[in-house]
Symmetry: none
Subunit: 266 residues, 2 copies
Amino acid sequence: MAVSETSPAQGPAQPAIILVRPQLGENIGAAARAMLNCGLCDLRLVAPRDGWPNPMAFATASGADVVLERVQVARTLEEAVADLHHVYATTARLRDMRKHVLTPEQLAVDLHHTAALGERSGILFGPERTGLFNDEVVLAKAVVNAPLNPAFCSLNLAQGVLLIAHAWYRALDDATPPRQLASAGSRNATHEELAGFFHHLETALEASGFFRVAEMKPATIRHLRNLFQRAELSEHEVRILHGAVKALAGERHRGKAVRIGGTDAD
Amino acid sequence: MAVSETSPAQGPAQPAIILVRPQLGENIGAAARAMLNCGLCDLRLVAPRDGWPNPMAFATASGADVVLERVQVARTLEEAVADLHHVYATTARLRDMRKHVLTPEQLAVDLHHTAALGERSGILFGPERTGLFNDEVVLAKAVVNAPLNPAFCSLNLAQGVLLIAHAWYRALDDATPPRQLASAGSRNATHEELAGFFHHLETALEASGFFRVAEMKPATIRHLRNLFQRAELSEHEVRILHGAVKALAGERHRGKAVRIGGTDAD
């Protein structure tokens, strides 16, 4: 997949809809139709169960072939979001996680604001039966949840896409000022840059013996990724954090020690 | 059909959804599911093509059987709307007719207003292929039309029901839910706890030689404090961060080394 190369129609003005491990071709097609109803074209699939292309999708798209023909298929979620600056996850339940929860309308305001800054966003939808895994939700800066009947809130996949896409469409020319993040001159980090920092941090923590209790490691990593996702890091801040981890772990020190032939002063 | 006798759950507070000559059972079921997602139960069918009950409808309702079991079937549209005070028609094109055109949001305001007066309303949806006939649209006091991509505005029947029903649901208590932060059980960190973490982090960074250029130090510290402030840390997360800094800086290691009398493995 070549998500880094963005065609004009899939430019920053449009959020990507990312279906993670979708099961039914019918739902992929219906989602594409709902997207095009609202003027969205950037559909990405992560490991679709029945492969791609899927004839059932074209049957239910009812003419939204332009969306299906441009579909980008990725093997992993990380690959699918690598070029995005902002990732949101749709989920009904937030298990043991600390994240902002937005309505589709609040999301739409965010999406239009960041698009105006030239930044790319994407919204994750989980598989029909199970929804997103915790480790997938962690990748998101915030969670989106449409208010629904609490006694019956399980929404069909394409219906979920429609609620998000239509809120985006309704807000296309809405002048409500968004919640803003003053940027101090540095652009937002991409998800690829964030992933690079997580890798550095977690490798250094592993080497330091931080993960003493193996069973706790996944939850601890989720907590750490979550809090840095919430911080909406700039590219500059990611570089500072890299430097801090490097310094704390003694990586720079050791390098210098080797150069000057001395021993580690630590 | 006995629409004149309205059960409590189908009282004036709820608009009826009226599918006129629906063709596919799948769409009837999906419409029922979308209705219940938004707390609506009063579904009426006018001359469904494949009769009633329709097993395909139950298959796609995904558990919204309570709506399908109460379905009221009428032979004619006039019969289906006989007990209603206000009828609205969904249609994309208003051919040679002078009618008010409402968005789903404007309709929702009307519906809640008339319901508060004890009056009953219903919304007409035409058959999948053709939409409503002119003579059917004429029965309506106004037309409802969701803003959609003008180049691709043909909406699936159940998708149309969802847009109307969800606008109604959102307007139930116009108090739009605020932007929320799901807390995962841990309380917010106090500023004292944050200050304690900053002190720990900055002391460790100082010891590691991170602040090589003295003039840059204040700005770098501001960046670090800022990003952690933005993350809105919980008390639990602050403890994890303390542990991470401690591990990275080798504090725990050194402690252990002293206890067991060995040397720092670093």
